[in-house]
Each structure stands twice: as structure tokens, then as C-alpha cells.
Symmetry: C2
Subunit: 243 residues, 2 copies
Amino acid sequence: TVAAREYKDELPLLFRPLYEETSWTYTFLLGCPVTKEAILIDPVDLTVERDLQVIKEMGLTLVAALNTHCHADHVTGSGLLAQKVPGCKSMIAKISGAKASIHLEPGNRVRFGRRYVEARATPGHTNGCMTFVTDDMKMAFTGDALLIRGCGRTDFQQGSPETMFESIWTQIFSLPHETSVYPGHDYRGRLMSTIGEEKRFNSRLSGKSKEEFIEIMNNLKLAYPKKIDVALPANLVDGVLAS
Amino acid sequence: TVAAREYKDELPLLFRPLYEETSWTYTFLLGCPVTKEAILIDPVDLTVERDLQVIKEMGLTLVAALNTHCHADHVTGSGLLAQKVPGCKSMIAKISGAKASIHLEPGNRVRFGRRYVEARATPGHTNGCMTFVTDDMKMAFTGDALLIRGCGRTDFQQGSPETMFESIWTQIFSLPHETSVYPGHDYRGRLMSTIGEEKRFNSRLSGKSKEEFIEIMNNLKLAYPKKIDVALPANLVDGVLAS
Ligand SMILES: [Fe+2]
Ligand SMILES: [Fe+2]
């Protein structure tokens, strides 16, 4: 059919993974190859200038800076980007309670040129966590919900293992097996995985009942998050203190 | 034509970038989607077990562990991998003088299933540096020759700015503008670039004559490489001391 042919012939999505080493955070740049409009997922305050340089040199126009959630381990760069780039909107889930230019509701599409990501509600790590899925379902940016062979902690910030289990199974594991999974962090240096791999090899989730998952999550005995007392208040105001 | 059609319909290369944080080294896993044979480019000794887990869980068979050069900043994992994985050969340029199962000559093709990378000689950082280019020329793994907006140092290990300039222009910048560049390191958290971007924005190379490049390289005033006295002797014996 014509529609299928047009889609197939289209240039591939522009894509750059970026890394902030003090918080082990991945930032993802996605761009429309036709119009050159772009979005950043989970920018960090410390690497905003690097990100802007990459965007400029690739000839892109940043239209949105998205947060998968209100982070506790680093300060977001989204507010700074919205200040520095005319037309760039910062975004986060409405239910997070955090400040942003635009509050996202589940199912919203964030458009950049001819492409978009769909914002899926995946609460559990925080109540405002979202997973961003590309229009072709080839990539899912899961933030701190689904991690590679693991998942985000559920013992802070309105965390709930029961809710996390539901989110992952209904909103993330329902994607095709071939969909690439790009988490917000990986503490073993892996960049990506796939839905198929995580369904088979995620030791907290694969073959586990909801009760078993809750039991695992309630017994992780994790340390108090190092930067939470600095990062959370800052991220509730989009990473930028009123001057 | 039939050939073009077959090529286009083929499944995409399996690809996973991996990261070793103490030396900021990127390791790249490439796999044939049909036969599931795979190669690792620049494995690090510290992350061999992680790499083997990823390979196993992806259902891949490792046939080669390649070094872009004899590293001075980390110990290679190639010898360990050749010991641990039956049928896996460690590889490095013959001219490097380092031990390996197979010594590479310029132009050699390293095959994995239906795919291969071509080994191009790109001396300058060391005399045995190689850049590995995929069969479809979509990706170039440049090691410490071409870096993102920079290049490897030329003041140790048979380094030569003049040779580096020739290598980059004749063997790397001769690739298509769209070819993705994956360097061995990036100290600003970027994973990749393209040939087109580097030709335009690499401050050491873009618009610079050979004389200007040599002048820049001879005045970098870099510190003595921290791990060189440990890493070099180890890497000359494939990262594995005789027992
Ligand atoms: Fe988080
Ligand atoms: Fe090196």
C-alpha cells in the first residue's frame, strides 16, 4: 500500500544517547530527520551546555525537554533548556506535582516534526513516572520504571511495588518483543535491552507473581538516596530556582 | 534488482554499546541477526563477565574479540575471552607487536555470520591502530584515532601527528558523511557522531592543514597517562599473564 511504502522509505529517526557520569544518567536526543525538530528525554542540569552544542551542530531545533519523572538523584536540565531555547517546553507528568511548561497526561503525544513519542503512565517508582514510546514502537524510554534486568526502587517518593508491577506488565511488557528498552540509568554500563530480553531475564519480574515481586522489592535494603534532599526540591520547580 | 532487494530485506545488525566506567571505555557488541555469531570490539578485562552475560542472554556465539590498538589506559579483555569462549579468537594489528590469536593486516575482513567488519590501518595514536568499518559502511569504530570533536594523543606509543592526519583523512574521512562514528572513549558522555559532523566540527581537523594539525598536537601538554605502566605490558600479552 502507499501508506506503508511512504513510511518505509522515510529517513530513520535521528537518535543520540548521551551520558552524565556523576549520576550515571542517560539523556536521549530524538530528532525528526525531515523537519529537524527534536526532543530531549531526561536532560541533566550539569550537561545542558553539551546537549545544546550537540543539538546546534546537528542542525536541530529543540521543541521539548521531557522528564520521565521527578528525579531524586540529579537535577533536571529541562527548566534551564526551556529558559535558554525559545520555543522549547519543559514537560513532566501532571500527577508528579512538579513545575513544567506543559503537564503531561497519560496517552499524550509529544510531537517533534513528523514524529512523536507517546507518554504512557508507568507509576510505581514515583506516582508521576512516564515511559515514552516512539510512534513506530521501536523504542521505549522507561526512566526508572523498567531497568535492564531490574527496576527502580519503590521505597521513596510515593513508590509502590504493587503499582510498579501493574505498570510494567500492562504498559511496558505489552510492547512488541523487539522493542528496544532505553532505561534512565544502568549501573553496569549497558545502554539498552529489549522487551523480549527483559521478559525472559529480568530477575525481579520474569516468571514472578505480583506477590513474589512485592516481597523482593520490600527486602532490597537499599541505602538512603544520596542526592535526594537536594535534587527533589530543585526538580519540583523544574530544576530552576526562582531568582 | 534481486541483490539489492535481498540486502534491504535483511534483518538489521544486532548492536549493543557497552561502557566501562573506570577507564571511560566503550566496548561494542556486533552480531549477525541470522546466524547469531558475534564479535566484541575493545572489551575490557573488568567487564568480561558482564559482556559474556549479555552475549549469552542474547543467544549469541562470540567468534572474535578485537582490539582497535594496544591500549595504555585499560587492560584488554580479549585474551580472557579467547580463553573462556571456545572458538573465540583475540585479534589485534600485527604491527602492534602485541600477542593475540590472530594478527590483522590492513584490509582484512573479520567475519561473523553473514556480516563482517573491514580492518583499516589508521596509525598515528599508535602504529598498530585500526578502525573497524561495517560491510555496509554504516558504522566505523575508530578506537583512539578519530574521537568526537577530537583525536587520540600522539605523544606516546609510536605516536605521530603527521601519520594521524594522513590516517584520518585517507581512511576515515573518506567514508560517507552519514557513516556513524563510534570512538573508543568520549570524556563528555557522547556515544557517537558522524563523518559529516566531524569533518565540519572537529576543532583539530576541520579546515586545518597538516602543519596546523601537527602544531596543535605538539602543544597539547597532556599529563603522563595514569595506567600506562600497568596496562601496556599487560596488553602486549593479550591482557593475560602466562601462568
Ligand atoms: Fe528516579
Ligand atoms: Fe589508546
